[in-house]
Amino acid sequence: MTTLFTFPKGGVHPPDAKKLTADCPIETIPTPDELEIILGQHIGAPCTPTVERRDTVSEGQMIGEVKKGLGVPLHAPAAGTIKLMGMSDHPMQVKAPSITIKVDHEASANEHNVSDWSQRDAKELVGLVRDAGMVGIGGAGFPSHVKLSPPPSDPIDTLILNGAECEPYITSDYRQMLEMSTEIVEGAKIILKILGVKNCIIGIEANKPEAIKVMGEAAAEGSTSEFNVQVSPLEVKYPQGSEKQLIQSLTGRKVKGFALPSSVGVVVHNVGTTRAIYEAVVLGKPLYEKIVTVSGLGINKVGNFKIKVGTKLSDIVEYCGGTNDRLSKIIMGGPMMGFNVSSLDIPITKTTGSILFLAEEEIDTTPHSNCIRCGWCLEACPMGLEPKEIAIHVEAGKGEDTNQFGVFECFECGCCAYVCPAKRPLVQFIRLAKMKAKR
């Protein structure tokens, strides 16, 4: 084995729990009768609907557009009629505006024909990516076309594909790498062409040897004199998949504070996003389907599913044969960074990567106690912060004073809370601090 790439500071080793779903091939969940498409699915301004109530829409038709500012359009995941412009449950905002589509199951599915992208120029390709509503589907939801148009002052020399998938439980990227390796490499070449760059590194954590092998073969096959794609195994350490950490692991470059990866000549895309970019450009298929891992001991059927955006959690639970008695917590996202949800009416969005139905033995509900200043969170923090100080300030009602501890550098990876022997909800304290403190 060659040396594994990693980042120097902090990080933790939670049990990865990927065995539950790693061998489950991607399965398609049938479109439910109703889809609720939340208007704000990306970082930036939410979409304004371009359709009206009772309108008939076809699969892939644009139904929302951002008129001003940062954003990407929204598309109808299935043919049907617009039933309602209302509000939907949302994991973070409680309620969020949405469009409800009553699905017409009779309509024939779209056919996607392969087109040749190599004749198109970079500008045209970026336009296709934007029009397909592409965002970073690894979780952040940052509009992809912005990443593909770095400022001219930042010359890019490397594209990094993030296949680390360091969060426990989640295997959706892993399955995509196994089943769609050629598409991912093809997507990488599209991005390389857009950026005018030759080199692409695919970073995959060493606990996925199969993916490293399959992607390595696809990369070798796809590489030409024009595009050089290669796979680099990463040390298994959470949060290896965090953008800044990943860049340092693979290139040794450090991205400063608010700066974007382009400031060090790097663009990072998730492998799932890369596959979706391939579909958008080559097949002309907008982003309205997600590969989602459903896992945990609290649900009867686990697996990796291709799900239409707007499908509610309740539809997924129904498809998976319901939950069982052991269920005690539902989390959207990974166990380290995800959100606990209280409603099954929440529809999935472009950025949903996993839904976990965790049983009592998979979670820790011990009440938290005082900070004993052991300093473990300082050791675990990949950003070199002092989580305990921020939390103590918040507890003392001084959340507004936490800027001095670099509270805005925190990306809420949860390493501190994971190691805390007093079980303190440090990430929640930090989120409170971010609301109180001013930049």
Partner: protein
């Protein structure tokens, strides 16, 4: 917490062998009164009762370890009141106390019962160890460092043996002294176990013991650089202090660099007290003096930020 308790058991067992069953009773009284005091304090202050976390048990054991074996049972009880009620809960409860409660109790007992705390020694019974080839003429009535301080090196050698076996005796623990601090070996093993488990790191013990040895070597002899560093860290509770008290999570700094400075501070103060102060040992006061400096050190030595957004402001508002 319970691993720490487990690590403190071997020194206790040894003390029963060398000082008799009295030490076990003292420890039992101390632990029981600490646990009771914890419950009473938390009840009276309206806090959640957390005796089951084991921290009061550790405090109780440490108090017992730091008092002579032949004292009245009243002492550990009073020590528990001082440590748990005043030292811990009145100063904010677990996590907020500034001073190490056990050391506070020892300082309090030393000030209020100076005679008992400095004379109730029991000569060690070394019959169990004769097969090891280490024979000690056990008639001494004071701790090694006290003898050395008050009567000089000749008296010390007359009482505790010659250079040939003196280190072995102190290392294994056949010496007069407080209940749990005599055996450097067992404390070292306990400390290494805690390090192996990842509960403590090497920073504070190494810097504390290293600086005690270094400063004693430089200043401890008749001329500079002629002191006896090995003896300095084997006696006077230095090992117990360095492994089980100086790195008490609550009262030590959290940053590793700050911890190194903190350890050196403890070492320097210990040697200063031993050589120039009124007490033959010194690590207890040295740690208590460094405890309030912890948070200052933490402010001075911050972890290196991975991607600072702005130049670190000078101390906030």
């Amino acid at each position: 917490m319970w691993s720490v308790v487990a690590c403190l058991v071997p020194p206790l067992v040894l003390s029963v062998f060398i000082f008799g069953v009295q030490t076990l009773l003292i420890t039992a009284v101390s632990v029981a009164s600490c646990v009771a005091m914890e419950a009473i304090s938390q009840k009276s202050l309206g806090r959640k009762i957390t005796v089951s976390d084991g921290s009061a048990v550790i405090t109780g054991m440490l108090i017992a370890f730091m008092i002579p074996p032949d004292v009245s049972f009243l002492l550990p009880v009073l020590g528990a009141v001082m440590a748990i009620y005043i030292g811990k809960h009145l100063l904010g409860g677990i996590g907020y106390n500034i001073f190490n409660p056990a050391l506070l109790a020892r300082a309090f007992l030393l000030a209020t019962f100076p005679v008992a705390m400095t004379s109730a020694w029991i000569a060690p019974n070394n019959s169990l160890f004769t097969f090891l080839g280490t024979t000690v003429d056990s008639v001494s009535s004071a701790t090694p460092l006290a003898v050395m301080k008050e009567q000089g090196i000749e008296a010390f050698q007359a009482q505790f043996g010659t250079a040939s076996n003196i280190y072995t005796n102190f290392f294994v623990g056949i010496q007069p002294g407080s209940i749990g601090e005599t055996s450097a070996l067992l404390i070292l093993l306990g400390g290494l176990y805690l390090m192996y488990k990842g509960y403590i790191t090497w920073h504070i013990p190494a810097s504390t013991l290293g600086s005690i040895a270094a400063f004693t070597w430089i200043f401890g002899g008749d001329v500079y650089c002629s002191g006896d560093p090995l003896l300095a860290i084997l006696t006077g509770g230095a090992m117990l202090g360095a492994f089980f008290m100086a790195n008490d999570y609550v009262t030590c700094p959290t940053n590793k660099t700050a911890q190194l400075v903190y350890g050196v501070g403890i070492g320097a103060l210990t040697v200063l007290i031993r050589l120039k102060g009124g007490y033959p040992e010194g690590i207890c006061y040295a740690i208590l003096l460094m405890n309030p400096v912890s948070s200052v050190l933490d402010t001075m030595f911050k972890p290196k930020r991975f991607a600072p957004l702005a130049p670190p402001p000078g101390g906030g508002k």
